[in-house]
């Protein structure tokens, strides 16, 4: 035991361990959410969903899918800009992995407790926009290009309300560190959604748009753009995008949970239990939000491109600004 503690106190060993853990979490989360989406969407449409894979309930469906992706030929179109085409999916996945680093799973249970945690998360998550734009640009395909440009327009428009919605919580907590925000909520005794319900709503809407999921899936609108920036991708590069989408769903939900819903904390649970129950509580809350995203996806139709832009610029941004002013007034006068 002493050997292990001394081993993990070594910087490089602990770094490698943490990296491996994050790298393992991504496919695991992707598979769990992917399976949940398949099964829940089936139930919402009165279907069975995956059934035969793995013997029961189709639990091995996503594993089979993953194996299938690796068996596929690695296709790169002639017109494609090869290095950019190859880097793009990696860039998207990296930005997803990086967000997981700053999510507190329990008291002290965090990969890296950055002083500027939420700022880092928002900055690094906009890296995926670049990846998407690179994918669209380098594919050498008009549908990909249209999808990539749409994605760029959408992600830039919704980055703003996302950031502005976060500011309310940061102001209340007085810190940008993710674990600091959770501790501030614990000492305040209530999750910030009580005061920041506008911010929470805006954050979730903007997060849906950032993920370009239905009802904000114009960049990959099947009926208009084939598959948008994903059109030319197949095999494991497509798998990267696929994993990034689901892992992003998880990480954005986890950020929302940390900022607005009290993170790993539930009212009435003593501190010493929290150390063990923390990850479970955080996962439960996160998957509740992920479920909501899946629920929205299978309920709402797609927005029109101009409706999307006017929703962001005319409604969400002014609302978020008003929310900041109100929060400021609350902070000063109470």
């Amino acid at each position: 035991m002493d050997f292990l503690t001394s081993l993990f106190s070594n910087f490089w060993v602990s770094l490698t361990g943490k990296l491996l853990l994050v790298a393992l979490m991504i496919p695991l989360i992707g598979m769990v959410i992917g399976y949940a989406e398949m099964k829940l969407s089936a139930k919402m449409q009165a279907r069975v969903g995956p059934y035969f894979a793995g013997g029961r309930w189709g639990w091995a469906q996503l594993i089979a899918d993953g194996v299938k992706f690796f068996q596929k030929e690695d296709l790169i179109p002639d017109e494609a800009d090869r290095p950019v085409f190859k880097i793009a999916p990696v860039l998207v996945l990296v930005s997803t992995v990086a967000i997981l680093v700053i999510i507190p799973f329990g008291p002290g249970l965090i990969f890296r407790d950055l002083e500027v945690g939420i700022f880092f998360a928002l900055a690094i998550s906009s890296l995926s926009t670049v990846g998407v734009l690179m994918a669209g640009w380098s594919s050498g395909n008009k549908y990909s290009l249209m999808g990539g440009l749409r994605a760029a327009g959408q992600l830039i428009a919704y980055e703003l309300p996302l950031v502005l919605a976060v500011i309310g919580s940061v102001m209340l907590a007085g810190t940008m560190s993710m674990s600091g925000i959770v501790e501030a909520q614990i000492s305040a005794g209530y999750p910030y959604v009580v005061l920041q319900f506008i911010g929470f709503g805006i954050f979730m809407i903007a997060a849906l748009a950032e993920l370009s999921r239905i009802p904000f899936d114009m960049p990959i609108a099947e009926s208009e753009l084939v598959m948008g920036y994903l059109t030319e991708y197949s095999g494991f590069r497509f798998l990267f995008f696929f994993l990034a989408e689901f892992a992003n769903m998880f990480s954005l939900s986890a950020i929302a949970v940390t900022l607005f819903l009290g993170g790993y904390w539930l009212p009435g649970i003593p501190e010493d239990v929290l150390a063990y129950a923390g990850p479970v509580i955080l996962l439960a809350k996160t998957f509740l939000l992920v479920f909501t995203m899946i629920w929205f996806r299978w309920t709402f139709p797609r927005f029109r491109e101009d409706q999307l832009q006017s929703l962001a610029w005319k409604w969400l941004i002014p609302l978020a600004l008003a929310n900041i002013i109100l929060t400021g007034a609350f902070k000063v006068y109470l």
């Binding site: 829940l40 139930k43 009165a46 279907r47 069975v48 309920t299």
Partner: protein, 168 residues
């Protein structure tokens, strides 16, 4: 001119979204907890649906009734029916009577790789030699095997259900 005043519906903005969300989650829980009652699909290879009356599965041929009139082949939009026949002379039924000529089938093939299941051949047949059968499990691994010859078409005849009752 009479004008009808539009009925004012008092609804919250966004109520449509709530309604939609309710529909999906209601369907979800109902499908999870009472799959036997509310599931819209079945596990096909294990469980089979009973086809509806007048289901268009496959076309059956009654060779006895066919007179090689070629109407079906000529009316087929896809030209997927191939018919060959010859005339046989039959001895007169009474001594000194007229010699009867009867057309007999040599070949009656339907290429289901081409057929579009319009049912015009069944409609047009004046001697009721063609029928719809609800059988649908006759996929093949080679396209050429989708050509059913007259014996195979005759075999489908026993799967033809009795005529459904007329709708009132």
């Amino acid at each position: 001119m009479t004008t009808t005043t539009p009925t004012k519906r008092r609804v919250f903005p966004g109520m449509g979204m709530v309604k939609g969300l309710w529909v999906t989650i209601y369907t979800m829980f109902r499908t999870i907890f009472r799959p036997g009652k509310y599931l819209a699909t079945i596990n096909y290879p294990k469980v089979k649906e009973t086809p509806v009356p007048r289901a268009r599965g496959v076309i059956a041929l009654d060779q006895e009734a066919c007179t090689v009139c070629m109407l079906c082949a000529r009316n087929c939009p896809d030209w997927c029916i191939y018919i060959e026949g010859h005339k046989e002379e039959q001895a007169p039924s009474t001594p000194g009577g007229r010699v009867k000529v009867r057309a007999t089938l040599d070949r009656f093939d339907i290429d289901y790789a081409l057929c579009m299941y319009c049912g015009i051949c069944v409609e047009v047949c004046p001697f009721d030699a063609l029928f719809w059968s609800p059988e649908y499990e006759y996929s093949e691994t080679h396209m050429g095997e989708m050509l059913h010859d007259m014996d195979r078409l005759q075999g489908w005849l026993e799967t033809v259900p009795p005529d459904p009752e007329l709708e009132k």
